[in-house]
Amino acid sequence: MSDATGLTVVTGAVSPTRKRLTSILIHVALLSASVLMLYPLLWLLAASFRPENEIFTSASIIPSSWSIDSYIRGWNGLRTGFGTFYLNSFIISGLSVIGNVMACSMAAYAFARLEFKGKNFWFAMMLMTLMLPYQVTLIPQYVLFRQLGWVNTFLPLVVPKFLAADGFFIFLMVQFFRGLPKELDEAAQMDGCSPWRIYWKIILPLSTPVLATAAIFTFIWTWDDFFGPLIYLSEMKSYTVMLGLRTFTDSTGESDFGGLFAMSVLSLVPIFLFFLFFQRMLIEGIATTGMKR
């Protein structure tokens, strides 16, 4: 530790001006990093409001004149309008939220609060699924859903959520439920409450933070999902927003960048609103559980 004797003075007794300078430098670094990171997003937003002929001539993030033509053109740019895609996306994401929160909280309650034979084994199995690449089950699942006649319906996208297929949320909720005082269940049990009543009347009401976090992430991830809709939805009237966007790039995108950008912006609006109103919850959710995205 002798190599830093010169620095002892610096770190030990930092002069106020030096501290101030460091702080300013950090803010400059962070601010420029923020600008660099947000610049593409702001440019996209600006491009969506530019008149068509200006889109590729400017790198600025403030349009010289504002126009919503791109939005009007883009909204009806495909055979089926984006209104339908939005409705489809909302239906799929909404049902997924309901299914995921219900099924995952039930499984998590069993793992966190109930005793039964084989519990540790099933819990280990659940953890294993967290690491499993979905490609390994993809083809048989596709065959199964095809035989059931579910291809080109929302069922392959929604039903797995009602079967708690995303173990990640179970894990998240187990962690939370374990933190709730066990005395609550025991007291209720003594009063003759069934496990179902304890789950419904005690555990769930106390767990609104984790349920809300799970609900928001389920919504966002389902909304963003591209692969599922890509393989299961083949008719344009059942497309989601993401699938609609992709079709847009294939068919008209090369000629109508304005419309494409406008619809891209619109597709991000629901996620952005969640970010705006629930960012604390999202960030805390990630910080405490180490979420993947």
């Binding site: 034979k117 993809l138 797995p160 891209s264 991000l268 952005f272 960030i283």
Partner: protein, 316 residues
Amino acid sequence: MTARSLQSGAPAGERAATTPSLWARIWHNDAPGYLFLLPWLIGFLGLTIGPMITSFYLSFTDFDLLTSPDWVGANNYIRMFSNDPKFWASMRVTMFFVVFSVPLKLAFALAVAMLLNRGIRGLPLYRALFYLPSLLGASVAIAILWRQIFASDGLINKLLAMVGIMGPSWISNPKTSLWTLIILSIWQFGSPMIIFLAGLRQIPQDMYEAASLDGASKWRQFVKITLPLLTPVVFFNAIIQTIEAFKSFTPAFIISGGTGNPINSTLFYTLYLYQEAFGFFRMGYASALAWVLLALVSVFTAVSFLTSKYWVHYDE
């Protein structure tokens, strides 16, 4: 426990509790747990284990979705390793992506987290701004934006033109196309950053105070205190991000229009698997590809966990 012993307070109940039939005991002890677990259990057996077994079987067949599968032995695997340049191309692309995107993303995340952890003003705002790309980044819209940014007449080249540089077409040049995807991945450093930040908060400040009194430089403090104490978080982030990188699909699909071009330079393994399964309906071959991916991810995870005791510092 308590409730059961209380309920069996009545003499009749007492007898039932001491000598119940096997079924009654199962019903009483295990049924509630399994009833709550039921949805997950159905999903696990029907959508995970069943399909896994089927997929393993299909990987030894020539299944094409329309006709019934014929057993071909290990032919799919043999062909993959000995006679399929596209398989090796996709393997190279995915490995390159993992090896460069994950460490760079984590290094960036840690660097910014450390800047943010110095008790600066406006922390919540910065944190939120840096997190936003992580939240939006998985979207098709961002992939579309990226394709435009790096196009020959795109945003990057427009900025370069301002300083008099003629930029290449980053997307259609096989030397740079994969890097555009790596940059997209690094851009989303927000969520590992938040996890790092939470980890940094756990490190007691007095350790740094003691170290700086002993005259340890900032760099030494970082190497000797921060990094060792942060290894569990580094480990966690590295595992999660690596598995995510292996599974990445949407950006490569959108940016290359589903082809993996130019000359297979963005042919992610997942994209190749998708093409084989749903483009050519070679479902048997695609199943074999999936099992090789699983083997790859498993080996990586196992090695990480086995070596973790040598470099991950767990206090307790």
